[in-house]
Symmetry: C2
Subunit: 197 residues, 2 copies
């Protein structure tokens, strides 16, 4: 995934495989005219990745927030209160945590896009992105799967506003998980293009 | 993470950041004598990564197998049979699946180490490694967390051989998850050092 388009001059030949040009068919003997196009393509791709990553985090934030709000307002008296079940408390806690995480990341990314100034060192930011996304994705899938069996069993008996809200909150957590799993892949790509690691 | 130690000659200067030498303090003006050392270091590191990845998969295979065996033999009559609960059936299914996956991967890696011949194209293998590890890790954490709440609740009432075996199988699945999560990170690194992506 590492690429420095058009940065290797035609004169040097190295034993180790050269860093990839964007199109495999070009080979690594990039002509001087292809060099500028390569750099432009690289910039365009990096911009696309930056925006895509921001978009995914934004969508994940939305899903987490919806999950959090639905679950937090899921109190309908008697046995139909979310805080009587540890699975739902866990789901709520993880929804809050991931809202905070994705919110903070999206805020940082928007600020970096608008002011073109890096808040963190790029390498540090890439590491935080990669590990953070993975950990939050693991937490989200874990909380969703812990809440699913009980909800299933409840819905076999009775289908009311409480079980429906729980199911909705779980679905939102799963959607947020999907967004963050893709975001973790993108962060892995960004980490791999960092120099000096 | 991309690195071609000592492969860039002192004469060329490029706008884009150069690929990383192993020690940041060296800068990218590697002396000719440092070039061979760099390549040797790179080989040593790649060998270490290959062995580390194989070791992690081996340990994960062990944990998955133990989890699978404990859960499959967890039948003690009456309500104490694992196949009466969907969570335990799910755990068993995922334990079998991940045993097969880690077993196949470890087999492939051992064969590649002993015959020094690649069964798959390196780029294809790196992609399969990366996505496979991530997906299996997500499945393992999902199955373990879905089985935990019910086991917890059962153990509040009665603590017998059935609940103890379930808890043991769950723990083994979680250990296997940890191994595969680290293995996914290593696969991400390997993917990032693939040329032509």
């Amino acid at each position: 995934m590492s690429n420095l388009n058009g940065s290797d001059s035609p004169k040097i030949h190295v034993e180790t495989p050269p860093v990839a040009p964007s199109a495999p068919s070009e080979g690594h003997h990039a002509a001087a005219s292809g060099g500028i196009g390569g750099i432009l393509r690289r910039w365009k791709r990096e911009d696309l990745i930056k925006r895509g990553s921001l978009g995914l985090r934004g969508i994940a934030l939305l899903f987490c927030l919806i999950s959090f709000i639905i679950m937090a307002s899921n109190k309908h008296g008697d046995w139909r209160e979310f805080d009587k079940y540890e699975e739902y408390r866990y789901l709520l806690a993880i929804a809050i945590l991931s809202s905070l995480y994705t919110g903070a990341q999206a805020f940082r990314q928007i600020q970096e896009l608008s002011t073109a100034k890096q808040l963190l060192q790029p390498r540090m930011a890439a590491m935080i992105d990669f590990f953070g996304d993975q950990i939050i994705a693991y937490l989200l899938i874990s909380s969703a799967s812990s809440a699913i069996p009980m909800t299933n069993r409840m819905r076999e008996g009775a289908d009311n506003i409480f079980t429906d809200s729980s199911a909705a909150a779980i679905s939102m957590s799963i959607f947020a998980f999907l967004c963050l799993a893709v975001s973790a892949l993108i962060s892995g790509y960004k980490l791999s293009t960092q120099p000096y690691i």
